[in-house]
Amino acid sequence: MMRALALCLALAAPVCAEPVVPTFTEETASAGIDTVFDGDWEYMVGGGVATFDCSGDGFPEIFLSGGAGPSALYLNRSPQGGALAFEKTDAVTLDAVLGAYPLDIDSDGVMDLVVLRLGENRLLRGLGECRFEDATQAWGFDGGDAWSTAFAAIWEKGQDWPTLAIGNYVDRKEEAFPWGSCTDNWLHRPEGARFGAPIPLTPSFCALSMLFTDWNRSGHPSLRVSNDREYYKGGQEQMWHLEPGQPPRLYTEKDDGWKRLRIWGMGIASADVNLDGYPDYYLTSMADNKLQVLKDPASGKPDYADIAFKSGITAHRPYTGGDLKPSTGWHPQFADVNNDGILDLFVAKGNVAKMPDFAEKDPNNLLLGQPDGVFMEAGDRAGVASFSISRGAQVVDFNLDGLLDLVVVNRWTSAQLWRQTSVVEGGWVQVRLQQDGPNRDGIGAVIEIRRGDKVERHEITSGGGHVSGSVGWLHFGLGAAATAELRVIWPDGTEGDWQELPARSFQILRPGRPAEAWSPM
């Protein structure tokens, strides 16, 4: 240890240096955020946030779930690079909201919103200028009457409308014996410009996160489902084949080499952490969390190794605050918060409620990636180690200064908002995918960034996390690089050209066209 440190000091080598710890300043109150995720037993999971631009100015708005209390849409009034400011509206004030994901369902260029609820789920059609109408019935969407706690969307090949997957939780009417009462997840496939009857994804095991992901780069995304073992019987983590025109089919050990894993699955974050060209999956749970990487991509089998321990990313207990009981992890999200060109990980933490064997003071994690693949905890030094009972979150650049900010939903207390106020030297680029016709935001596309002799792949997804999602600027840290060399592989498989994009710029990427620089008005 001392020898390694001495060597680092002598060489002043970048690989030995600790990553730059970003600084976040909480601006919840000053920014006007005050929505609480409230409620009792039926709201012990959920608590999501959606961020998206519905005003057309490029700045992301915030939609916060309120549980038993009202949800709220906050319009972004932040000046570029300045203090965060939001205007609370009553544009989307619903009760029993557990989470939400933005998605331009009808591909009209105006963002819509999928709202997960305790009871009937809703599809809200964007009308422009942050106005919405309930299009649940008009779009033939069966909102059900469940405890909906997970969502994912994909445009299947040949379809103009997306396929929506809704994850459902416990049968809330079971009082004395709720265990084993997981209700069916539903797959809503389109029938023209509306949705057909939902297809039950049986068996279902109390999903708390879902994600369409092309795990093997086959061109056919599968549906990964992370399930809460607290309530299922005979369950496990799941993945479904989704072939166009075919019924969904479960991956099995016998047919596919799928390996049984049983965790308190609460959130999925996906990124190519080990730079092998395939998505890796961070799965939140209670105590140890998992980082799954394909053991052998050439085998074609979904057989994953858990490298969380050796990557320093188990995040199994609080690292500050004195409570040493095991942690409870919820929303995970990979993002490069310090713009050094290496992915970092944010994890929202919080006790389910009155579980004395798990940490009550459970700080959120900010784990900074390092060149050797081992992450370093910096949540407390960065200023985001909140002890509130956190659930969903989004890591987003709210004031478009190139530095990622943070919003976190908390149970029983107000959501929290942090602005990143770092002075970091690393560069960044932010891109938006736009294509004509269906799937305007390019859900299912892959962005490849060349970093030296490595190519880092990013799947553009709708889903995952813990009932929280975002559509908008896609942020990439660049470190000292003056440009970003990247290309897009569009959802139809078309490979865009490699492009050199200048650091510290916003770019709109369209199929077959050069990048278009964009600036906030």
Binding site: W41, E175, E230, D288, M355
Partner: protein, 439 residues
Amino acid sequence: MPFHRRQVLGFTVAAPFALALKPALAANRADVSREVLLTWHKLILELVRHTATYMPPVAARAFGYIGVTAHEALATGNPALRSLAGQVTDLTPLPARGEGAFDEPCVLHAALDAAVNGLFANTGPTGQRAMQKMGEIMGRTASDGMAEDVVQRSVAHGQAVAAHILDWAAKDGGAVIENLGFPMDYTPGSRPQDWVPTSAIRLQQAPLLPGWGTLRPFAVKDMAAMDAPAHPAYDEAPGSAFHGFAQEVHDVGKSLTDEQKLIARFWSDDAMLTPTPAGHWISIVMQIADRDALPVEVISATLAKLGCAQSDAFVSCWSTKFKYNLLRPVTYIKRHIDKAWEPLLITPPFPEYTSGHSTQSGAASTVLTAMLGDNFAFDDATHEDEGLPVRSFASFNAAAEEAAMSRMYGGIHFRFGNEAGLAQGRAIGAVAAALKTEA
């Protein structure tokens, strides 16, 4: 003497009940008591699975105290039953019933309600909600049609019995479980045969409950006498006896039949995913009680002896485990035989020798054979809702031997660990079976 089925069924009729009820109603009340006992145990099995500290030894301890609670609640009102006070370690005489009429279902329900809420006070919000609902539902079931003063008097007595048991339980050294049972700090042994962590789970880099072997036992007076003999001498040389045992685990694991895989999974009984090994045997008793309509006094006496045996078996087994601190087969095999070998089951995070499940099963089968008879055939549907088929056994011993063998199929124990565990458990089971529950 075992309660053979005919004798069991005759027990209710022959026993002189001290109930302030008409005889016809007494039979109905016995049925209600039975429903109360079995329904609460159905919830207890779920609570064991869903309470994070309820690792297998902790679960066995709870079954011991709950079993004693139910038996004592009934024994205070039934001269045909004998209290375990003075028989099990440090249990003092239970509160006596006062004047007036008592109702057995109400006494039993109140005792179980209080005991379960006390022992599972740390369960999560869903468990808390379920306990509350169960209290309401069983409270209504027990008190339906009964005079209010009888209900109040009975509930107060049941609660007093539970308070007495919980106070006794608080002093056994196992009441507080921290960090889910894993020490914050642990210094591994330095010998080549010493246990080392076998998983990449950060929490499990220290072994589970290393001090559990010092717990106050229920029935066993001389724990040292229950210790297993030394395991075969550790040896890394091919051709040595120890190497041969490891080779056997490796070879069996490489050629598992579908039936062997099923057996391994049937008895896997993982913590936080099942009711644990002890709960599996409790489940077997519940199924037999339901099938054969066993009288409540027989069920409660069986559960009390079984719970005591299981808890003592884990205490003895854990004492042995940390005395020898032997590595797991996966560690030895990867080091010395086959780096790529993987066991079918997840290796539990504590030393190998002796096998906990084998010890449990030896103890349980001995108690159940003593209570219900040898060659007592039964079906076991414990894991039916997990998708595992019902298995049929010709006797409790046959089930125990299969449970022990399952650990080798699963790749988590050596043959000698299973065999020594069975013997260790059987010796403890015999002590528990000798407890007197009849006057």
